[in-house]
């Protein structure tokens, strides 16, 4: 039962961290940091996403290497879509 109790407390801890991070990202948005703002906003969001994925979705403890390969390849192909279409829009003004 204790191992069970410990895991509940662990999940509550993750939950509270996520709430704090939500507050943080909302708060930081009111501070003018110029180009840093979107970087911080996405950074905090990525940390929260990692917390949910690693601990809530048990990606951290899993023995299945395949799960990680699938996630990483999914994100890689998403970056392909975003990156290469951005390559078009970013350089369109040059010609």
């Amino acid at each position: 039962m204790s191992e069970h109790k410990a895991s509940i407390r662990f999940y509550l801890g993750i939950f509270l961290t996520l709430l704090v991070l939500t507050g943080a990202t909302a708060g930081v948005a009111y501070v003018d940091l110029g180009p840093l703002n979107p970087v911080i906003a996405l950074g905090i969001a990525t940390i929260k996403a990692l917390l949910v994925a690693l601990f809530f979705m048990h990606v951290y403890g899993t023995s299945e290497r395949m799960t990680r390969v699938v996630i990483v390849s999914g994100l890689f192909f998403l970056m392909l879509l975003l990156g290469l279409s951005l390559a078009d829009y970013a350089t369109r003004a040059w010609s």
Partner: protein, 544 residues
């Protein structure tokens, strides 16, 4: 031709396991689902083919005198939609893949049999919706349904056809997902990745594209539907939206989709050539990894469809170079297949004729791709009949030849009967001749400058168009023949042995047709793939 009773009843197989409509419509046996797909896909192939014939008939004369302009636009749109979403994408994975992937890796069934049946029902629902859309007005935007024409300047049934493609997309995703999990999790003991047949490697690569690419066209269809129904003008230039964004999202899927179409046929050819050359495939690892390389590089090149669309010159440079990168794995495959023939013992059975046809036509299709990837030439030939000829060489010359070769190669395993060899070879020859007569003139038409999707054209293009139309009728005859003699063979064909071609592979080590659970007991694999030196060729495996 002695008419023998159906394979002796005491030999249980997936066909005589149980009878009745329910046993077919509610089956979760991957082999029966493959046959359900075979029937429905053949139906849609002939619908699409019929539209193609009408298009070719219209183009017999420069003036638009067979059908009106609107009808012609709907004809080539429906020809494109039906052929792409309801024939080319599902055909080899859903028919041959569904039937063979579990058997080839030595397992009883796919990982998720019920999702496999759901995939077929989604295909049927999508097909019914597309048929309804066709019969009640059709779509006139071209299968590429570019914005802003599709979103604001036509009132044909875009949303209905889009929904049909959306549902067909999920059918494709579920097939791909099923294959990946099955190949990863359910291989027989001893079936390591390097002992897997190349047919499996090709379907593994295809499934990666299906899972990663199809959702992007799903969202593109949703965005077009949202713009038409809810005035959410995401591509509307009046709001500052960009029609090119539609093209980016559309081609991000639609180019990898052409690799979904060709890779499975490459897998089929990689099985046929070693068997009828009695030789181990040349460069196994290179052919296997080139399939995966095509799947991954396939996602880098989509904007070579947009060189003249108004995208930036520098991005066009990047995509042109990457398009040459994706040509290398295809070249590797062709060289390896040709090298496999060296010092072989080659017999000219029907599957082998189709494999030769594939090799020839896919090579020409691939090489003309080099013309289109060169920026300077693409400006002149994009959106002309040069492009039409290029992708028909790959799809009809490649995908369809591979599919027909595979159908003949595994027909004994699927039906327990042999097809008539003489008719098979005749049909292969007619298809090859009809195909070249139809599509080779279109290369010349393309470079002469005849744009695609033209209802009427300048008179100087008529001669080549007449040749092309003549070829299309020969091609149509060539495609009808196999359907006839396959049906005929179900009843009167010679009873097939378990391994009529003395081929390598687990599917030839079980009975023809196989029992419902494929093997009496799960096989243990202790041999390499294609070890033809240990398999004695039958003295005359095939009637000379």
């Amino acid at each position: 031709m002695a008419t023998v009773a159906y394979p002796s009843p005491e030999r249980q197989n997936y066909l005589n396991q149980e009878y009745g409509i329910k046993s077919w419509l509610l089956t979760t046996d991957h082999k029966r689902i493959a046959l359900l797909y075979l029937l429905s896909i053949t139906f849609f192939f002939f619908i699409g083919g019929f539209f193609a014939l009408l298009i070719r008939l219209e183009l017999l004369t420069p003036a638009g005198d067979l059908v009106q302009a609107d009808t012609y636009n709907k004809l080539f749109t429906m020809h494109g939609l039906v052929m792409v979403f309801f024939f080319l994408i599902p055909v080899v994975p859903a028919v041959l893949g569904n039937f063979l992937v579990p058997i080839m890796i030595g397992t009883k069934d796919l990982a998720f049999p019920r999702i496999n049946l759901l995939s077929w029902y989604l295909y049927i629902a999508a097909g019914a919706l597309m048929m309804h859309c066709m019969l009640t007005g059709g779509v006139d935007t071209g299968w590429t349904f570019y914005a802003p024409f599709s979103t604001a300047f036509t009132n044909t049934k875009i949303v209905e056809a889009g929904l049909a493609a959306f549902i067909a997309g999920f059918s494709s995703i579920f097939t791909g997902l099923n294959f990946i999990v099955t190949i990863h999790r359910m291989r027989a003991p001893g079936m390591t990745w390097t002992r897997m047949p190349l047919f499996i490697w090709a379907h593994y690569a295809t499934s990666i594209i299906q899972v990663l690419g199809t959702p992007v066209i799903a969202i593109t269809i949703v965005l077009v539907a949202a713009e038409r129904l809810l005035h959410l003008g995401i591509f509307d230039p009046k709001l500052g939206g960009d029609p090119l964004l539609f093209q980016h999202l559309f081609w991000f899927y639609s180019h990898p989709a052409v690799y979904i179409m060709i890779l499975p046929s490459m897998g089929v050819v990689s099985e046929i050539i070693p068997c009828f050359a009695r030789k181990r495939i040349f460069g196994y690892t290179f052919v296997a990894l080139s399939s995966v390389a095509i799947a991954v590089f396939g996602f880098l090149v989509w904007a070579h469809h947009m060189f003249v669309a108004g995208m930036s010159v520098y991005a066009a440079l990047i995509f042109s170079m990457l398009s040459y990168l994706v040509a290398v794995p295809s070249a590797i495959k062709v060289f390896n297949w040709t090298a496999t023939l060296y010092k072989g013992s080659i017999s000219y059975t029907t599957p082998m004729l189709y494999a030769f046809g594939f090799l020839g036509l896919f090579t020409m299709g691939g090489l003309t791709g080099l013309f289109l990837a060169a920026l300077g030439i693409d400006v002149h030939v994009t959106d002309t009949y040069f492009v039409v000829a290029h992708f028909h060489y790959i799809m009809v010359g490649g995908v369809l030849m591979g599919y027909l070769g595979g159908m003949h190669f595994w027909w004994p395993k699927i039906s327990g009967r042999m097809y008539p060899e003489g008719w098979g070879r005749l049909a292969a020859l007619i298809v090859f001749i009809g195909f070249n007569l139809t599509f080779f003139p279109q290369f010349i038409l393309g470079y002469m400058g005849m744009p695609r999707r033209y209802w009427q054209y300048p008179p100087e293009f008529q001669v080549l168009n007449v040749l092309s139309t003549a070829g299309s009728t020969v091609l149509a005859v060539g495609y009808l023949l196999p359907m006839v003699y396959f049906l005929w063979s179900m009843r009167y064909g010679k009873i097939a042995e378990d391994n009529p071609w003395a081929a390598a592979g687990l599917e030839w080590m079980t009975t023809s047709p196989p029992p419902t659970y494929n093997f009496e007991e799960t096989p243990v694999v202790d041999f390499e793939a294609y070890d033809y030196e240990n398999i004695k060729a039958k003295e005359a495996p095939v009637a000379r």
